[in-house]
Subunit: 259 residues, 4 copies
């Protein structure tokens, strides 16, 4: 082969296959979205269009990559759980990471106009990502709980912060008011000062978003007796559940099914 003289450079590519029998999590995070959300005038503390765009990207991911069994998103971040036994891209870390992040980014840019019809993209958004191995399903549940607790803490803080700012405080003053406050104090502040019952705010803000495959029953063609045939299939679905408690998981046991 004419190229053989230089082909030795391929030897520098190291094998990066991830160990078997581990759940893989790809977590994607917006790069410098503080600035991106300011330039594109995202609503504060939560921009529903931006969240819905993220959810649309995540849904596209589950449609594209069958081995993603669950995704959880909050703000400009999304975690994708690949099933324990996945052989996607032979479990090569670089392939899994680069292709998923690239696809997510591609969908984000393509779908932008449907979620922000009045606002053109001012510059290319980008996302970073990482892949992490988790050896037990129990730890995957803790991982997701970690993200949802974070969602709660941040959202409660941000809701207070932006209400204070919108009511006339400077950003610095708002920070001072909130410094050291506990969960209950923040809820009280929202209620007493702004008449907001935190627990009635939209679940998408408080709980983040889950994307998964829901069993749906479909009525198909008629059988030979003229009865419609019912079939179940799995349909990619977005919801805003408590995933720290066990209820959701008990109702969807197939999602984190072990091998």
């Amino acid at each position: 082969m004419a190229n053989s003289k230089y082909e030795y450079v391929k030897k520098f590519e190291l094998d990066d296959r991830l160990p078997p029998s581990n759940w893989l999590v790809v977590r994607i995070d917006g790069c410098s979205f503080h600035r991106f959300s300011a330039v594109h005038e995202f609503e504060k503390p939560n921009d529903e269009r931006a969240l819905n765009l993220m959810n649309a990207c995540a849904s596209a991911m589950l449609e594209q990559f069958p081995d993603i069994v669950f995704a959880y998103g909050v703000s400009d971040e999304y975690s994708f759980i690949l099933k324990e036994a996945t052989e996607m891209f032979q479990r090569r870390a670089s392939k899994i990471l680069s292709i998923t992040v690239s696809f997510f980014t591609s969908v984000y840019v393509m779908k932008w106009k449907y979620f922000f019809p009045q606002k053109e993209l001012m510059y290319p958004p980008s996302f970073d990502g990482r892949v992490v191995c988790y050896p037990k399903v129990k730890i995957i549940l803790d991982y997701l709980a970690w993200r949802q607790v974070d969602c709660h803490i941040n959202n409660q803080y941000n809701t207070c912060f932006w209400m204070l700012v919108k009511s006339g405080k400077t950003e610095h003053e708002a920070q001072q008011v909130l410094k050291g406050t506990q969960k209950q104090e923040k809820n009280d502040l929202l209620f007493e000062k702004f008449g907001i019952n935190y627990n009635t705010l939209p679940a998408i803000f408080r709980k983040g978003s889950c994307v998964y495959r829901e069993m749906v029953e479909e009525v198909g063609k008629l059988d030979k007796n003229g009865c419609p045939v019912k079939r179940t299939r799995k349909k990619v679905t977005v919801g805003h559940f408590d995933i720290i408690k066990t209820e959701f998981w008990r109702e969807h046991p197939y999602i984190l099914e072990e091998n």
Copy 2:
């Protein structure tokens, strides 16, 4: 911290910093671009619009990431050389890989319409990527030579193949004609059958594309004597050079300057 009970899951994130004193190459490659180029009716064997779009993305990369000192592209692939001493993202492999691939993809989708104004994107394109460490500048030169030899071999083959197909042969017949032919035989075939002198085809097809910073002299403001002040600055530039021979590198010694 309220989240501490679950935070142990962060311990599963391993340190992936790349070793110091190595040049880093990020190579990006279109995923399933065989299909993508068919669906989007790329011209064969080379679609100049598609190549120019790739080059625009690569130029945006050099504008965005100052530590990328050189990029070389061919077909749906691009290699980015990061300088030996780069501390970009603390040399963390996942960060470097995911953010560069994401940014490249984002630019590709955003700029698509300028290069393919008549052809809407039918589905989200994606790219895979990998990062490789090269410990010596000599090996970087061999790496680039490897890619450019590949460009030559593939382009010569594809030029013959598509001329045969356009002249009425089936794809299978074209393959049979070319099987086992040497470089000179392919050039002869092009010349004798189709009157094409391979060496006069556009350099962008034969040599691929180089993106780098060219020293340019600019005429600035007048000085106190009324003379215009000349300054040199580095400008991101696309060219189609032979990078296997030493000439280009002798003329641009600062590109692969070692520490």
Copy 3:
């Protein structure tokens, strides 16, 4: 610090901590023990002194490293299981590997004279090693079964092979006789030709050796009523069990206890 000019070289040492929540297996293997056993005139197919020396080294390992919960050895190889949650040497792969292999080797050389009193060491024996992460206890059981099946296959073959050689065949002829034979045929050959009932050969040859901590009851000092106080403690013990079946594990549930 006077040394700071050169201390940058420490940056080339990469972090090699193994992922949490995985059982670690260190497998140690004699280097070129084919030659070593010939030079030191090991008995064939099994040298009990050599096996007992290996077992003494393994026992010393369990005394030295409390996080080794089980060891299994056959021929010139030994596998050590470190408990899932071990923080030995902060789970750094290089430390774990080098120190365990070094300690094992050290004991082997020191204890040699007690097992081979007539035979001085002719040259320094050495062992290679590797560390492997196993994410589930089920896979550790399969790992151990893998080694014990290997022990059985090799021992049965070697027993036949050396009986044939001792009975006058050349090594090549012995190989030819055994080529393609099944388990039962090998047992038949041993019985019919040599009057050997394979299943009555010593368990140390057929089953390999297990080293673990056995609960033992000890009679201690008298209590105030003059009754001896019984206490249980764990004592490093060598045995030759079937570890493929579940019996041994059911009787020693604490060995592979999960966190």
Copy 4:
């Protein structure tokens, strides 16, 4: 194969080949040698027998592993440089690390009695180790300089410390005297208090030990004219040189020869 049901466990062994075109350094270090040297009554600040035993082990390493081109030792530590292009054990990190550390340990225990004829080993000594990749010969020189500067700093401190202790100070008092002293002050203290000219202490203490292959000329058989045939061969040699300055390296250019 009868074993195939369990053989999947081999998939958990990851490929750990080190990148090509890097010098490899294996650094070996005594485990808990503070205690080991106390138990075995090493002389303070330097025990020549212990250093000579370390050097004998290092020499055995160069005899055993031809790809080790240089070794540098100080106190209970030794660094072994493997040539840039080594293919020893296919550059697999675990193999290289475990086998070299094991062999070193084995020689240490076997040769102990020749260096400490009056003192039996009280318990098995062990060593830890690590392998580090260095991409340039320049960095290897800095690595060795780093170790030799360390040797100097430690030896000067220890010489003062033990002289103070031997002269009647407690260990704590000796520490207090030395706290914050500079190089020159320490030399002055040695000279003024104890009449010791630091620079005339044995080089093995001040410079550490280098093990390498020296070109030696040998007089061989007579040729047909009756003249003895001279041949040069490389002989493993121990010396105590300054390896921070360039002189040694200029005189032995073949040691760190690049490919």
